[in-house]
Amino acid sequence: MKPHGLNDETRRQLDRFLQHQQTQAYQMTYALTGNRDDALELVQDAMLQLVRKYAHKPETDWPALFHRILQNRIRDFHRKQGFRKLLGLFNGQIHRSEQEHSDAGATAIEQASDPRQAQPDQQLQQSHFRENLLQALQTLPLRQQQIFLLRGWQQFSTTETAAALGISSGSVKTHYSRALEKLRTQLGEHHENVE
């Protein structure tokens, strides 16, 4: 039987690639799940899947493959969450998750308010803006959330976003436009205050 496994060069390339992706992948997944542990688990799944199934693909294909896997994992996660909510088995965890989210926000504000940190007002406003943005984001359908984060935040092209989500470019444009409109509407008041 032929020896099987990653050669050193591929391993180094994958290591560089994943190291470069992991922070943004985590931040995006956190924005879409609102939970640190869930975000870490989903990112880990995506990393494993990429190595196990697509390490042999050209390095140039890895970004699209990695984001496709990650977005699929996030979609599956939300489907499971929805199913659990329907069954009414998740009430306690939702409450805890909301509490954790609230605590995290409070911690961020506390840290920002800590005189030892001496953060400028602008950073505090930024923190408030982020919390509002994440809350507004969670009111959008998942597809619009994903497209806003890929297209608006990560600055993927329409084609790249479509490839990552497995949908058409036209659909990306439509959802992106709707997402921007809704977010601007919801954050308008805050935005005016910040300005």
């Binding site: 990653l6 190291q19 880990q44 190595v51």
Partner: protein, 120 residues
Amino acid sequence: MRTSNKRQPETTEWLQQSRQALDQIPLDASTRSALDAQRRQALRAQPAERFLRPAVLAGAFASLGALALAINLWRSPDQTAIQIDSIDAFEIISARDDLELYQNLEFYLWLEQQPDNGLG
């Protein structure tokens, strides 16, 4: 993607502010450490057994071929029967006797009405 040269930067101030805010999603030391550990663990994983794929494909093709052959053999008698039926029907329709019957229908009707034609 951010890493590629295909950026299509949006210039609105609102989007720019959103990007900055999202870039600053908290990432504490323990989370960074967990991500590093996960990356190392992923790199230790063995790629899926790709060399099995041709064998699996060959097996699938062989199975499909066998299935197609079985279906063909199973359906063959019916097809023969249909063909025979069709030929029979064609013969009935095109038989000279029957055509003569229809062509001389008036004569045969008249013959049947005769009290004794000496044939019975």
